[in-house]
């Protein structure tokens, strides 16, 4: 048994050699993400009332509410600032804002990261 201690890892490497690799060839395959993965911020626009609860609690100031009147407001999401913590989903009392596990492609264009989640203009 003492002799084994000089080649302790030998059986391990032989086993690893003959079994499937544990790593994956990343960019050429797509990875499965968990259901609860926080990938992007979405909204059910019809539920949003523009109460700014999510804006108040956002730790990264990634949400912005431009409010003109009760029925005229715009909720903007700055994805480049967002930390995807999910606090907005917790803060929302109207079941409007939520996170899902899809995530977007990266981009070098800043405008790509500014998303208007809700845009409500008063009906004429």
């Amino acid at each position: 048994m003492k002799l084994r201690s000089y080649f302790y890892l030998l059986p391990n490497i032989v086993r690893a050699f003959f079994s499937k690799p544990d790593t994956v060839n990343y960019p050429s395959i797509t990875l499965e993400v968990a259901d609860r993965f926080r990938g992007s911020v979405r909204i059910k626009a019809q539920n949003c009332v523009g109460c700014s609860l999510c804006v108040r609690d956002c730790p990264a100031q990634a949400l912005e509410l431009e409010k003109e009147s009760k029925n005229s407001f715009r909720l903007i999401h700055y994805r480049d600032r967002c930390t995807y913590c999910g606090q907005c989903e917790l803060s929302c009392r109207f079941d409007a804002i939520f996170l899902d596990n899809e995530y977007d492609e990266p981009s070098s264009n800043r405008a790509h990261f500014i998303v208007t989640l809700v845009e409500r203009v008063p009906e004429e």
Binding site: Y6, L9, D22, A34, R36, T83, C85, L90
Partner: protein
């Protein structure tokens, strides 16, 4: 003989995070060393004073990339104590479960770093491969591999269904076997022992005089563990054994950490089996009554300490964070005395530094 001063850091392959060591060498022997901190200071304590309690949870989570959950746990605990909130038991259990999973993740990561530093890349790859299991489990239950965003003031945000519990159970069983294998390597592999045994020795007296915490202290024979000594979250309802060893060298530290992984997975299984029913959180008011509170928790690296003073507004008046790395860091010049240059990497890795924690 002329002395050579070797700078290690702030950028060096040996270090994963920026810290600077200046090591004076006499041939291959280290005669003197000094360290300098502050390269990742982000002013989190000050920043926390300018944000609301709710926003701070996510700020605190980003202090450290490895033990993010334990920081939020300690922080939420402090506020819950001030508010006098009664957190539901199920919430506490899930919080504890994440703490233990994180401990497993942190210790496996550490073993990989140590193995890499002593040139045993195979163990590095193996331990990080096994760490992937626990990362997957954490992602599955919380949605994040590192930033879990599980803790909220008043409980936790996630709930566990039966599917997830079985997934956890089988994952933990799988992990146990692999960790046993790693323990076998540490215990019996000559080449690992040759580079870790008798290195970076700290005696029990040293440990006491430096106020060392966590696995480093336990490897030198100091039997401290907050989970048992001052139970928080759900620990008072769980059975905990604290592994203690007397060698006090890097080897003993790796053994202690591996045993803690087994212990953590036993705890996690206890939690899965005895998970109480009910809600996972209560609603917390946004304003915290004036007062001050100290909150402590056993992070993977040792005791983490939070002091919070509130003045009745939505923002904390003062938040003081003391992490285990900061206390353990002080022992490094002592440990580095008279070791060989080649062992510097093993000694530095052995303490399990988290510079981001120490600098905040």
């Amino acid at each position: 003989m002329t002395r050579i001063v070797v700078p290690i850091g702030p950028q060096h392959p040996l270090l994963k995070e920026p810290i600077s060591f200046l090591i004076s060498l006499d041939g291959e022997r280290v005669v003197n060393s000094s360290l300098r901190l502050g390269y990742v200071h982000r002013g989190i304590e000050k920043l926390a004073q300018q944000r609301t309690y709710v926003q701070n949870v996510y700020l605190i989570e980003r202090i450290c990339g490895i033990c993010s959950h334990i920081h939020t746990t300690t922080y939420c605990q402090a506020i819950e104590t001030l508010l006098g909130l009664d957190v539901p038991r199920r919430g506490l259990y899930i919080r504890t479960l994440l703490c233990e999973l994180e401990r497993i993740h942190s210790h496996l990561l550490w073993l990989g770093v140590l193995a890499k530093n002593i040139g045993l890349d195979t163990i590095f790859m193996y331990s990080w491969r096994d760490r992937e299991i626990v990362l997957k489990m954490m992602e599955e239950i919380s949605g994040g591999r590192v930033s879990h965003a599980v803790n909220i003031i008043g409980g936790v945000r996630i709930d566990l269904d039966a599917d997830r519990l079985t997934m956890l159970e089988s994952g933990l069983n799988d992990l146990n076997g692999r960790v046993e294998e790693l323990i076998g390597t540490i215990e019996r592999d000559r080449s690992f022992a040759a580079r870790t045994r008798g290195i970076g020795k700290l005696t029990l007296e040293d440990v006491k005089s430096f106020c060392v915490v966590g696995p480093v202290a336990r490897a030198s024979g100091l039997d401290i563990d907050l989970r048992r000594d001052a139970p928080y979250a759900a620990y008072h309802e769980l059975e905990i054994e604290v592994p203690v060893m007397n060698e006090g060298d890097v080897w003993a530290r790796s053994m202690i950490r591996m045993r803690e992984i087994l212990q953590a997975s036993r705890l996690a299984k206890q939690i899965i089996r005895t998970l109480p029913k009910g809600p996972v959180s209560t609603t917390a008011p946004r304003k915290v009554p004036p007062g001050e509170v100290v909150s402590r928790a056993e992070a993977p690296r040792g005791e983490v300490f939070y002091y919070l003073r509130s003045n009745g507004s939505q923002q904390p008046e003062r938040l003081k964070i003391r992490t285990p790395t900061l206390t353990n860091l002080i022992t490094l010049p002592e440990q580095l005395k008279d070791v060989q240059m080649a062992d510097v990497s093993a000694v530095i890795a052995g303490v399990d530094l988290c510079i981001a924690c120490a600098d905040r």
